[in-house]
Amino acid sequence: MSWLRRIPGLGDPTLLGLMLLLTGLGIAMIYSAGQVEVPSVATGIWVRQLAWLCVAVIAFILASRVPLRFLEWFAPWLYGVSLGLLLLVLAIGTGPSGSWLELGPGRLQPAEIAKLGTIFMLVRLLGDKDEDFAGLSRLWKPVAVVAAPFALVLLQPDLGSALVFGFILIAALFWAGIPLVKIFLLVSPAVSLLLGFNWVVWGAWFVVLLVLLYYHRPFVLESVGVILANFAAGALTMPLWNSLLPYQQNRLLVFLDPEVDPRGSGWHLIQSKVAIGSGGLFGQGFASGPQKRLAFLPEQHTDFIFSVVGEELGFLGVAFFLGLFAWLLWRVLRIAMEASDDFGSGVTFCLFAVLFAHLVQNLGMTVGLLPITGLPLPLVSYGGSFLLLLYAGFGVIQRVASER
């Protein structure tokens, strides 16, 4: 295998193998998702995914060839371009939530490119030797870097992708060595936002917050700021909830009880669980899951591709996929830990976080552990932009691995 290592920019052939294997399995599942008895957009779409794969492979090779220093220098430009594209998509976006840019033969989701741009920008900022992140208030810059794409994506509106940006921020700060308590205080308003539904729980949360502040003893102004932010967030909960579109509210509600609206919003979740559950240990056989075949399973080639895996390949297939993902994640995490370059390490860890967030959110959604947010399953779900982002990201990771 040593000849593989001699390929410039290829630092981890095992990771490459895992990536290609999961992509291949993904295309097989997309093919299966198209095997239905009802006319469906999913039929034959695996060919398109194959075409996207070719583009993604080019992106992978290019990314692996680019020196990390160039990427670091290039970060603000990429970030700027992504923000520009996000603004553009708000103006002329197409597709279900207006998140697509029509681009000749294909469509581009700027949110995916923005993920990469934000990661580069954020890691570059956190690695800047002139910056000091000792105080909580000093974190305003990284927060601002993420807040811009977060807000733009939220406006699309795409809550799921927006949350991924929030998760990128936490991951980047975490990897940069910011104390956990500080990160915790930083995200505390978000917790308040969730708990604001119930005054009692929210009150209890404030007690926890005060105890933390007492022990951590940040600047007084910062403490006041955290308290005020939490207060504001909690108070905003209801107005914000009411400003959500009904379908967004329903998605969150049916997460609590899918049978509330079994024919409407609960449908996706119920059918997904039925599909996965009926797979049993061995599954119904590749390409022949009745739930999918008879179109009970919605979005079976994108968000709910793993329900097809569950139905057709059974728990054994699910465990195999989970194992591959775990192995892949572990390889990525190890590269982040072993990287000699700070920028490369940070970018790798953020990509690890993005992969992980998508994986957990997508699988959690298919089994009803998490609300439906429409995040695709990395490498497996149909979707060109995300595949492109992932392959570019994996290219960078390979580069990082080769430079360690």
Partner: protein
């Protein structure tokens, strides 16, 4: 941010470990969730998946065929098709109905009704047409992909070849209604089932219906049928039992075709020895075939609003004053009380009427019958004689005697909605109705000639005359043949000595065979018929015309009771007599009864 290299390595190791633990833990949690879903509750979801995609479709059972006494078909099944829509979103179903409305002839009102039905039972297939023709089925089958939610199933369709002639007896079938679904009788019936709605179809629903089978089809999420599921997985339908009637279908159709033009009325004929109903016909009638597959609204309202009430079964669900046919009941009661025998004369001869207190009671014949004994009074139907006979028996003995002959109860015929007649059970009846001072003993005069508080069904009169004809306890009349006659025997008989009974039969023979008898003009030619005419007063118009009788008089094979409403206008013939006479003649002829010696051969039916 400034940091030493060793610090950095330690930090990354620490943070990496945290990330590893957190992500590893979450992945295990996810694996656990899949394990729970697929392994622990997998079987439950397998079931759910099958419920999802399999739709049970009921396979209708063919109803039993109904035959007459000679094996002729009264009700049968012919191939028909049911068109229904599979359950699904309301809008989709409404759109499907709209697309087919023109082709299936669904009116806007009917469309609303269908949508309402779907709202009540959103998870059941909605039947659009259960008597679709081949052209409608072909229209759908040619456009299969466009009508993927539509199910076309063959379902046997009911046909009554004799149609109008058997309407009141056979009833009709139709789709079970919401209310009927709730009724205990129809427990286990599913919406869309065809049930007997009236007549024999309703009476013998349990025997005729059979048990529907079930087949499964696989549907997709849109509710479209993808394919038939494993053929072996359903259950086949069990056809209903056949039913054999005592009815003579030829006689029945004759009764329909010779019914006096433009009149209303009814006729019933019974075999007096076993209670088998040979003929049961009511006029005006309707064609039950038009009710199959949903009664068109206009037809329904036309039938309901028709002043002639064609839906009314005038044999068992209507009562009339029995008029002079009641005189045989008076005679029987009087003979039993000892107040009368066949030679009894009354104090006042008939001069066309008789005074009671300040009232004058008329005889039908204003010229009077002169002095007659009971036999003569029956033959000439003398009211004056029977006023006095009623008075001689007395109100108390009279009402008690009538009760003992089964009047006031239903006959128990195997048809729904039979009503009992009206007759005062004792003098309390009048006290209740008019107050103790509000009536006089003269009520017995009216009762004695079959008027007043006296309403009997045509069927009830036939049963009594049958009992008189045989001298036995009558068998409850029944349409469906029944071997167990003992269980159907009524608890009473006329209770006369044979000689007394023969005397009454002889008097009835005189009615139909002697000049001066009220039915002499239409006497049966080769056989002796015994009977009694009646003319019952009708406040709404001309009197009703009755005839009740049996033949042959000495060896009765058929008892007949017929009424023609307003069939006896003044100065004309009584319409019931020739009608009944002709039916009896045709029946006796059809069973091959040899002519009685000494009687002229039958010429032609009039």
């Amino acid at each position: 941010m400034m940091m030493m290299d060793s610090q950095k390595v330690a930090l990354r190791r620490q943070r990496g470990r945290i990330a590893l633990l957190a992500s590893g833990g979450l992945l295990l949690l996810l694996a656990g969730a899949f394990f729970r879903l697929q392994i622990l509750s997998g079987s439950q979801y397998v079931l759910r998946s099958e419920e999802n995609r399999l739709r049970a479709i009921s396979v209708p059972a063919p109803r039993g065929t109904i035959y007459d006494r000679n094996g002729l078909v009264v009700a049968e099944n012919i191939p028909g098709y049911v068109i229904s829509v599979l359950p699904g979103p309301r809008d989709t179903i409404a759109a499907t109905i709209d697309r087919l409305a023109g082709r299936l002839g669904i009116s806007p009102e009917e469309r609303l009704e269908l949508i309402e039905k779907n709202r009540a039972r959103p998870n059941e297939p909605l039947v659009l047409r259960d008597n679709a023709g081949f052209d409608q089925v072909a229209f759908i089958e040619e456009r299969r992909p466009a009508f993927s939610r539509i199910v076309v199933e063959p379902r046997p369709r009911r046909l009554y070849p004799a149609g109008e002639a058997v309407a009141h007896m056979i009833g009709y079938v139709g789709e079970i209604s919401e209310q009927e679904l709730e009724a205990p009788r129809y427990e286990g019936y599913e919406p869309g089932r065809i049930i007997g709605k009236d007549g024999l179809e309703a009476q013998y629903e349990e025997r005729l219906a059979g048990t529907p089978g079930v087949r499964y089809v696989e549907v997709n999420a849109l509710g479209s049928i993808v394919r038939e599921f494993d053929v072996g997985s359903g259950t086949p339908a069990v056809p209903g039992e056949d039913l054999e009637l005592g009815i003579d279908l030829a006689l029945q159709t004759l009764a329909d075709s010779i019914f006096p033009e433009g009149m209303r009325g009814a006729v019933v004929a019974i075999d007096p020895w076993n209670g088998e109903v040979l003929l049961l016909y009511s006029h005006p009638t309707f064609d039950p075939n038009r009710f199959i597959g949903g009664i068109p609204l206009d037809l329904w309202s036309a039938l309901r609003d028709d002043p002639d009430k064609p839906m009314l079964n005038r044999v068992s669900t209507a009562t009339y004053p029995p008029g002079s046919t009641w005189k045989l009941i008076v005679s029987t009661v009087g003979m039993k009380t000892g107040d009368l025998n066949i030679r009894s004369y009354m104090p006042h001869v008939c001069t066309g009427g008789l005074s009671f207190g300040n009232r004058y009671f008329r005889c039908w014949n204003p010229r009077g019958h002169g002095g007659t004994d009971l036999s003569g009074a029956i033959k000439g139907s003398c009211n004056v004689y029977f006023y006095q006979a009623g008075q001689r028996i007395g109100l108390d003995a009279f009402t008690a005697g009538v009760q003992a002959l089964g009047f006031g109860e239903r006959t128990g015929i195997d048809l729904p909605f039979e009503i009992a007649g009206v007759f005062p059970e004792s003098r309390e009846y009048f006290d209740r109705r008019y107050g103790p001072r509000g009536w006089t003993e003269s009520v017995v005069w009216n009762l004695a000639i079959g008027q007043g508080e006296n309403h009997q069904s045509v069927l009830r009169q036939a049963v009594f005359y049958g009992a008189l004809a045989t001298g036995e306890s009558p068998i409850r009349p029944h349409l469906a043949r029944d071997e167990n006659l003992a269980a159907r025997r009524m608890p009473w008989s006329v209770g006369l000595a044979e000689s007394q009974r023969h005397d009454l039969v002889d008097a009835m023979i005189r009615v139909a065979n002697e000049p001066g008898g009220t039915a002499y003009s239409y006497r049966l030619q080769p056989w002796t018929m015994a009977g009694k005419t009646g003319t019952s007063q009708n406040p709404h118009g001309a009197p009703h015309s009755w005839f009740v009788g049996f033949a042959p008089a000495r060896d009765p094979r058929i008892v007949i009771a017929a009424i023609i409403e307003q069939g006896h206008p003044d100065g004309t013939v009584s319409l019931a007599v020739p009608y009944a006479s002709r039916l009896v003649g045709r029946y006796l002829e059809s069973i091959g009864l040899p002519p009685e010696p000494g009687r002229e051969p039958r010429v032609a039916a009039r």
